[in-house]
Homo-oligomer: 415 residues x 2
């Protein structure tokens, strides 16, 4: 069912050189879960002492691997990560739990650790039992081959309807000692032809305690992965995990136990930047996307209100189809502000497409230049800015346009 699509026109023009992260080795393999002729499993090994943090889907019907990870995060320690594509192991009942347990057992044996130090993620078809016996032998083999690179391989192995692999890297200093942060992500629709979801895994060699790591991740996700939307649909499997091997301690980096420790300022900033990079890559690979849209809302009563308004705009099918049609249809932006249910005063509202103010004081801007706006809308990156004039709350979210190709990809027209 997964159709070969051309690479998104919004893909980054180049793939960054990814350095190794000390304490992390990995390999990918063809386990034959669903796809043929491509890798579909990632096995990563973390050195002893690695801490873990994670944020997961808010779905009330999470997948079996999400349940598993949530339970194991309490321990705060990680030695292995198994990610497969092709099957989400979601809505698979008792069989799903058994598949998770078997996968963790095979992985623990291959990694030489306890099953509760293994983290799992699956992406792909919902409702089909995952045959975990396919991992027998495969994970042992991966462990034998595990190496510190190349990082593009895990990014490829976890793809479903993605049209390009998503990687990012940053460096920071903790008390003057350089540390590295690498991340990979996948996702194209929140859930796609049957398969797809948002998964992201980030690793660093910084020595950060699990509790602090969780604090950094929770803070970082709100304005990055939780600020993107493709189609407003939330997967049963969304997973973002952050692992810290602590290997930079040998080079003098101090162990940090609190997320608020001022020595983590630069690290937190670099992590946030990396998460935003990966999140934007997911929006840029939105199914059928032809334009990347940034929605900025300012002057709301508070940041949370600004974000709800921004998401209302970014999720509106009518705003997204207008952008696809290169139509600066600010009336639909007004509609989306109005339906958000947040404080807004029609007569204070102003709206810009790029730098062109199209509406002000509750009416069309008399000075608005239709030709300049039309030219702007032909671009590949569209910024919609809304000023509410009520307070200092602000938020930015990212999305893509809604095209016929989205419907074609997800309509799965049966012949």
């Amino acid at each position: 069912m997964a159709k070969a699509s051309p690479v998104s026109p919004l893909a980054p023009k180049s793939i960054p050189a990814m350095p190794a992260v000390e304490g992390v080795r990995f390999a990918t393999a063809e386990a034959g879960i669903r796809y043929r002729g491509r890798t579909d499993v990632l096995f990563a090994l973390f050195d002893e002492g690695t801490t873990a943090a994670g944020v997961f889907t808010r779905s009330k019907c999470p997948s079996a691997p999400v349940d598993w990870c949530r339970a194991n995060l309490a321990g705060g320690r990680a030695r292995a990560l198994v990610v497969n594509s092709g099957n989400a192991n979601a809505f698979t009942g008792m069989k799903g739990r058994q598949a998770v347990e078997l996968t963790a057992a095979i992985a623990a044996r291959a990694a030489g650790c306890r099953p509760d130090e293994v983290f799992l993620a699956s992406t792909g078809v919902i409702g089909e039992p995952l045959d975990a016996t396919k991992f027998e032998g495969v994970l042992e083999n991966c462990a034998a081959r595990a190496a510190a690179g190349p990082w593009i391989e895990p990014a490829r192995a976890i793809m479903t309807t993605d049209t390009f692999p998503k990687v990012a890297t940053r460096t920071a200093e903790i008390a003057g000692v350089p540390v590295t942060i690498n991340g990979i992500a996948k996702g194209a629709g929140m859930i796609a032809p049957d398969m797809a979801t948002m998964l992201s895994f980030v690793v660093t060699d910084a020595p950060i305690a699990a509790g602090a790591l969780q604090g950094l991740l929770a803070r970082g996700v709100e304005t990055t992965f939780n600020a993107i939307t493709v189609d407003s649909d939330t997967s049963t499997s969304d997973t973002l995990m952050l692992f810290a091997t602590g290997k930079a301690a040998a080079r003098g980096a101090p162990a940090v136990a609190e997320a608020g420790d001022p020595r983590l300022g630069g690290f937190a900033e670099a992590l946030h930047d990396l998460l935003r990079d990966l999140a934007q890559q997911v929006a840029r690979d939105g199914e059928g996307a032809s334009k990347f849209i940034e929605v900025r809302v300012e002057g709301a009563v508070d940041d949370a209100s600004a974000k709800r308004i921004a998401l209302s705009i970014a999720n509106s099918p009518l705003v997204k189809t207008a952008v696809a049609g290169e139509d600066a249809n600010w009336g639909r932006v007004v509609m989306a502000v109005g339906k958000a249910g947040e404080p807004a005063e029609r007569d204070r509202l102003a709206i810009w497409f790029g730098d062109i103010r199209v509406a002000v004081d509750g009416a069309r801007d008399a000075a608005y230049d239709e030709a300049a706006t039309s030219a702007y809308m032909k671009g590949q990156e569209i910024v919609i800015r809304v000023a509410l004039g009520l307070g200092t709350g602000r938020a930015t979210v990212w999305t893509c346009d809604l095209t016929k190709e989205y419907v074609a990809i997800n309509g799965d027209y049966r012949s």
Copy 2:
């Protein structure tokens, strides 16, 4: 910009014969607001003693006519209604308020009543000033021609992207005296190519006080017009009004002052049935619709929770594209249940397409017949039923599928 579209394949097969409603006369005209060669204004006159009730968009940025109607409803009396298509008079600032005042003044003069007995609705482009001077002469002329029928004319005059006029009629008895209820509606997207919204006007000859009328309408709307969705986008102009001329009193119908009066039982039921009929016609005319979808949720913790889950399913682009593709993709239904944020337990969930149970106890139904399901999905009317197994809450909502034509209609691809 309004393109001529073929009539929706989901349109009712026949238009009902609409009787007159005593105390109501109307005429339509070509005021040249935006369209050429079609009527675009409806002027209705109500006899003295007519009461009024209304429910309006919850948008925080309502149109000028919505503000006007809300203010005048306090009086509870109506003598005239002016509805125009082609321009929504929304987000038009001070000019919008002036246009509303001028329209009401012209209408009051033509009807021989006070401006605050005039109700107004506009649908069409947002953000363009409405030139109310175009109503000069036109409304006087309508008043001179006003008649008790034919009812299809007002339904036609208020259309924007609708592909068919929407009318319905019912009768009921109040204390043994027959009364009539007639209604018209328009709407195709919640907001469309630039223009469109949901408007509906219902009139009856029953003698019901304004307060009671408001109670009946508020109760009736929740499971009818507030239970349909085309694209989750809420217009700035949504308006549903109910007028009661009281003329049936001359035939012996008692004046009723309380919505809870048991003598209104049959009337309330007939009104509810008419509102549901009109609301379903709007969903059947959803932009680009090829299938009509009924979503039934049962076993929720309460009715409100059931409705939020049902709307989450009905608004999901992935569920709607799957139905367009004739794919019984229950994994996406699970996803939509999960993202609703309402109590749900994966392992108690069951899902049906029509009478075919496809999932049960948190996993695929082993007995599920793929061929029979595929055959069912080829139909034009699709019922998706979800049982949560938690309580007795239930709700039903109606929507349509999401097709490439929706994107084409709303993308307004500029050449």
